[in-house]
Symmetry: C2
Subunit: 139 residues, 2 copies
Amino acid sequence: MSESVKVAAADTPLSDLAPDVFSAQCESRGVLEHVVSRWGVLVLAALLDQGTQRFSALRRRIGGVSEKMLAQTLQTLERDGMLVREAKPVVPPHVEYTLTPLGEQAARQVWALARWTGEHLPEVLAARAAYDTRRNGTA
Amino acid sequence: MSESVKVAAADTPLSDLAPDVFSAQCESRGVLEHVVSRWGVLVLAALLDQGTQRFSALRRRIGGVSEKMLAQTLQTLERDGMLVREAKPVVPPHVEYTLTPLGEQAARQVWALARWTGEHLPEVLAARAAYDTRRNGTA
DNA sequence: CAGCATCCCCGCTGATACTG
DNA sequence: CAGTATCAGCGGGGATGCTG
């Protein structure tokens, strides 16, 4: 795979590119869910940010993950080819996780999205306030 | 909207841009979840693809949504300022939904991500096969 | 240290039925 | 047509405890 992520060539009719996303059993939907899942986003982001890291480093980095969910998320992403797990055969186990090129592409996209939401949070918050006012009456 | 969504400017240290995404109570995480939720993605995509649409049109378009989930999703996205709901006061109710500029930006990003996963599905599937073999099969 | 197994809860989700 | 209300089921996700 190359390097740039190539996004937003959205003048092409959307339905031509992926007509099936709207169908209930679209397989790529599952992949997307993994990638944008609660912890998936953060694992990818952390790995993109800091590069190769061990389990405990990730756990410390990502506020609020349980061991279970971290392990589960890592497994899923490994299975999807987004990252590589390398277990060094030493006495205190030492396992490192690294993004694959594929995973890096995903991570960049996800990260961009996360950053975008962060940047536009004020607008969202304003919209919410307006909406709530409209509903609850005077407020 | 201008043209490109500007993604993958990831040479900037990630943590500088949004240090708080990793904290458990990051507000933008919620917005992200709404946007990339199962039906959120599809609603945004449908609206980006076809423009303003009514409730029933969306329902028909998006395979497998229940009325409840569609209504819920639309409400959430409206509250977040991603789309506008316009109810025409006619006897058989007629309600139209349209993306806001903000929502259109979101939709493009989400759509790009969806498309990316679609394009790279073969790689993911291959990775999965390899992973499963490593675990069950010959391994 | 890494991570699997178990238990358990609650929130998302869908099916059904009712209203404006 | 476009919702809201209610109920029931399933699975995500956390806490705990145990292994290599």
